[in-house]
Amino acid sequence: MHETHDHSHRDEGNDGMPLRNKLVWIVFAVIAGFYLWTEHRAHLLGALPYLLLLACPLMHLFMHHGHAHGKTPPDKSNPGQP
């Protein structure tokens, strides 16, 4: 519940994302930007395995993040309001 990285954004009403989330966002954005801007041609296919490899630590980070928090919001009792 009160896991280690919890207090990095414990201050009430804080909208700032923790560094880790920002990092993940930036990595995603860089890869996405790479795809949107570069010539999307055959040479990219050569990079495919590396990019997938790159995705692994990224996903790990995220999955781990999810676990560390222990409990996810119970969706039944608290309907989200996206």
Binding site: A32, E39, H40, A42, L52, A55, K71
Partner: protein, 219 residues
């Protein structure tokens, strides 16, 4: 640029791009409820349809090829660049990846992802503490995550319009609006007056600039 390799039939790129953009959204949306999954699923369908045309099979270009060839003689519509249709039609006719529509589209797409991430962060903490999310993006509009999805998809439309995604877009708008309405009913039932008060203060989708006045976001 388009000589050595074919521009379409690149199913690896279709897969990779779809997975990337779906994962990107997933990481910062984290669907829980069935409704979350529905809105996420609709976004995913849009993304897959888009990249299938962008790198796999350019259905739109085939269907419109006669008209396009007449209107824009000399454009090689089998090359990737021509698929950035708005650039071809109204843009600067340079490398489309740096044309006005592509730049605008990138702003919408990354802005959308940023909003999605921001809103998720606020919502996540609000849900954990069983309170309403009313700060950050939620202070500006009531449904920032749906708005984010719409911004992202609108960005993609600017960049690479296709018949299929153009047809999907209004359907998705209506679907998101309905999901939002159902959701509000649930949240109202749970939080009552607190939410009613928040509803009064905060517009649903279009932020108020200054006093009142609509925003430029798609209807």
């Amino acid at each position: 640029m388009s000589t050595q390799s074919p521009a379409y039939g690149l199913w690896g790129l279709v897969l990779l791009n779809s997975v990337l953009f779906i994962l990107f959204a997933f990481s910062f949306y984290k669907p829980h409820s069935r409704r979350d999954w529905r809105s996420f699923g609709m976004y995913s369908a849009f993304v897959v349809a888009l990249f299938t045309e962008m790198y796999g099979f350019p259905l739109t270009l085939y269907l419109l090829s006669g008209w396009l060839a007449q209107k824009f003689p000399g454009v090689d519509f089998l090359a990737h660049d021509a698929g950035h249709l708005l650039e071809v039609m109204f843009g600067w006719r340079t490398n489309p990846h740096f044309g006005p529509f592509h730049v605008l589209s990138s702003i919408f797409i990354f802005g959308g992802f940023w909003l999605l991430a921001k809103a998720w962060h606020v919502l996540y903490h609000a849900q954990r503490e069983s309170r309403l999310a009313m700060t950050g993006p939620y202070a500006v509009i009531r449904h920032p995550q749906y708005a984010a999805f719409v911004l992202i998809m609108f960005g993609f439309l600017l960049q690479w319009p296709t018949l299929v995604t153009l047809a999907m877009f209004p359907v998705l708008l209506v679907a998101y609006a309905r999901l939002a309405r159902h959701e509000e009913a649930e949240v109202l039932a749970r939080f009552g007056d607190a939410y009613r008060d928040y509803q009064r203060r905060t517009p649903a989708f279009f932020p108020r600039f200054g006093g009142k006045g609509a925003s430029r976001q798609a209807p």
